[in-house]
Symmetry: C2
Subunit: 511 residues, 2 copies
């Protein structure tokens, strides 16, 4: 038997989440194993192993007797530079037969869902196989039972938090609405009322800011579970990045492929949300479903079906879920981008006179619904547009009295610091080239504009939107201001706006 | 506006068919365009452009101001070393909405099929998107109309041959049966009868030999269309590699993903076969469907459905199709691997006494059915197990008289040479460890064994199978002989056989 090892090196190639190994075409391992480009290869380094896709190197960028790993593979296998790795063909992924079965119309059993998710979690699925799984679950092809099965498997595959409280509150937004940064305000109001809300949030993947990106402007968000627990014990809440803890890790892998395909699987979306909430130890969750023509959820019918599945799946795990189907026709607040959104959040918390009223009222509605859920019992869960008046009064009072802002600062300081946001120096204001009524605002174009200006990597970059739907503008009125950290990025974003003028559409002047 | 160009280099990384571009994380293009790992990027080099997946390089393997292309991307864009390339975000692939629609149950229209295949052909689909398309077509989800639509789009997307003959004969095997190398024999018999059969064949992708690999042992197979036409004009037939001509190129891309997923889409299979035959200018095609527990087609029901779709789709393009559902329970002939199969083919053509009788009789049955089709009219097409006796007599006579062998040599010489096969020097014969009846033979294990021994890259490698199903063996009888070009590969194949002893299964001795 040949010695099937090579020494590992790290050339620093980022292939995103896909694990790739690079080997020379003429290396003895490729030849004896019969590996070809795109073979799925099992790599063993000491006790650790992983499956990667093979890229064959024909030139001399790779020395003899060495194999290179992509960044994701290096992080997974954690070898020493030059450490020996052993290679063989990856075993067939048995659970793919369940995926094929589902494509042929066979229901996905609980056991099958478990084996699929375990294999995805272990990194056994290639991108192509992941895409087939996503496709198999797409449309409205997952039943409630199947959604529950996938959700359960996702919960089991990751870490699970426990909190010293009977009621652990949480919120979630189905997404797609720039600037909808209610989480910091809601968490502060809830915690200020003595309730427990250990909030973890995501960073932006394709959008110009995630809640974790926005919070990072104001405080440290990269907390271990132990640090999170301390902050929660001390303040009742936290506002941490979910990525530093390992809740429902298979979900992150699936989401990446769904985004690349732009393929909504409502079952997967529900499994994703509910598995993370159950794993995070939450007991009561308020889910915001912004609905509008350029939001993620585009029709009230889809919003209603999603709502039903979210509530049903949550119930299977003892999680109380309430949904709010909210207006998703335009961005929330004024800013889009981490620092600009952080500024809006602080304005609302500080009850400044020029604070964005939509962000304020949305946050109050969600906080009130959560307060009501927490006080009530299971029968009060379900879909609802607004909470009872008493709860809205409580939430408003918590905010207006300054108690929410005080709690927010407390949480930030417990997480490590409280910093004011700074905005980018390079700015340009775009003005109306005609008078009229603002007749449509395109969330997607504005989000893309903020991304091109540098958000979220450039924290101070993004844009301020100066108008709202229905506003009457005259020639020369400011529509939006673009912020960038470098002049090149500013120009680049403005070029994009020139070729996509429908970010803000001004219709005929009202007669 | 920034100058969005970098200079192209070629580090020789083979990512199979996937187009990959490597850029430095800190390069001005990535920063100004907001590219991240796995972004889909449009690359423009002079007049040529392509869409590639981005890998981000963090180390110094890539110098500043340079971008590297994978081999497939380099072949597609054909730049000079160091040539300037311009980069921007790839436009959204509009035809993916038809794929999403199909996943949601909407029929695939002719126009939609056309746009999908054109985009695939242009390289606009990422692997993930291809997988979603394959999944959308999987199961028995494609109707005859949809299959016809995809077939037509595939034909339009590639080259199309015309021959100076009213009847152009062709054959195809649905595959999965090692050693089933009837094509050279059938082509020789047909051409020896004055008929036209310009045969193109594929190389092995996952199997130990394709017909083109086997023929390459005997003659040159890499012919341009013009060379093919000359050979056909001179001899009536040819036995060329289909990959040097561009028939239904989108199909090759789709097949790779199907194989990686092990996902049979009967509609795709039919579109693949029929599009290539129509594009090749064939008028009458005999399709062999080997059926057995370890063949590609495992049940008679599936074989029948496939047969019906093949005939129906062919008819939509005026192509007469007849199918033979044949025994797929064990390999055909003795050898598996290019040179070993070439030896079997020559034995049959030379009517040697020890020639494999199964290869002979299958070839005669197919040749007879083709002769009958060619003589008859449209009403004679359809599924049939055997051709009329007169045609079988004609085929047998053509073979036994030596006319087929003479024609075969003629074709080979017209293609450039006629060489006898040479077998590999490193050999080991595996013997029966018990007496009994050969009760099962696993096509997949034997194919894998031949691949591990080096086939098809090592042309002389592979195996000879010394027994057939139902044979009675005693302890020490030879079961198979493994051939390899290097001792390491021989050991490696034998190791595999030790851990997979069920390649040839010997049951209890008959009482």
């Amino acid at each position: 038997m040949l010695e099937n090892y090579l020494h590992l090196i790290r050339p620093g190639i980022d292939t995103h989440q896909e694990l790739v190994v690079y080997m020379r075409q003429d290396c003895h391992v490729c030849r004896s194993e019969g590996f070809t480009a795109h073979s799925r290869v099992r790599i063993q380094v000491g006790e650790r192993s992983a499956v990667a896709t093979l890229n064959i190197v024909k030139g001399d960028f790779l020395p003899h007797n060495q194999a290179a790993l992509s960044e994701a593979a290096w992080r997974k296998l954690k070898p020493e530079e030059g450490e020996k790795a052993y290679f063989k063909h990856a075993p067939a992924v048995d659970s793919m037969s369940a995926v094929r079965g589902k494509l042929y119309g066979k229901p996905l059993t609980t056991a099958a869902a478990k084996s699929v998710i375990e294999d995805i979690n272990a990194g056994h699925y290639s991108d192509i196989q992941l895409a087939a799984f996503v496709a198999a679950c797409s449309g409205n092809r997952l039943t409630l039972d199947e959604t529950v099965a996938i959700t359960g498997a996702m919960i089991d595959a990751g870490q699970r938090f426990k909190w010293n409280s009977e009621r652990v509150l949480d919120k979630h937004c189905v997404g797609g609405l720039p600037g909808n940064r209610t989480t910091p305000i809601v968490t502060a109001i809830i915690a200020a009322n003595g309730l427990v809300m250990p909030k973890t949030s995501s960073r932006a993947i394709t959008s110009p800011a995630g809640t974790a990106d926005t919070m990072e402007v104001l405080t440290d968000v990269q907390l271990s579970y132990d640090r999170m627990a301390e902050v929660v014990k001390q303040t009742g809440g936290c506002l941490a990045w979910g990525g530093s803890v390992s809740l429902s890790p298979a979900d992150d892998v699936i989401i990446r492929v769904e985004r690349a395909l732009d393929l909504d699987s409502e079952g997967q979306l529900v499994a994703s949300v509910i598995s993370k909430k159950v794993a995070a130890g939450s007991t009561h969750v308020l889910i915001d479903i912004p609905t509008g023509p350029t939001a993620k959820v585009r029709s009230p019918e889809f919003a209603a079906r999603l709502s039903e599945l979210l509530i049903g799946t949550g119930a299977a795990f003892g999680l109380k879920v309430k949904t709010i189907i909210s207006d998703g026709s335009q961005p929330v607040g004024m800013g889009i981008g981490p620092a600009l959104e952080a500024r809006d959040v602080l304005k609302v918390l500080q009850c400044q006179t020029d604070s964005p009223q939509d962000l304020r009222s949305r946050s109050l509605a969600i906080a009130a619904a959560l307060l009501e859920m927490s006080a009530g019992n299971g029968q009060r869960t379900g879909t609802g547009q607004s909470a009872g008046n008493e709860w809205l009064t409580l939430a408003t009072d918590t905010l207006d009295s300054g108690r929410a802002y005080q709690k927010f600062q407390e949480i930030c300081l417990a997480q490590g610091r409280f910093s004011e946001p700074e905005l980018a120096a390079h700015r340009r204001t775009v003005k109306a080239t005609r008078g009229g009524i603002v007749s449509s605002v395109n969330n997607r174009i504005l989000a893309r504009l903020a991304s091109l200006a540098g958000a979220p990597n450039a924290k101070a970059a993004g844009l301020d939107l100066h108008v709202r739907l229905g506003d009457c503008v005259t020639l020369g009125d400011p529509l939006l201001t673009v912020y960038a950290e470098a002049p090149g990025e500013l120009e680049y974003a403005l070029d994009f706006l020139m070729s996509h003028p429908d970010g803000v559409h001004i219709g005929e002047e009202a007669v």
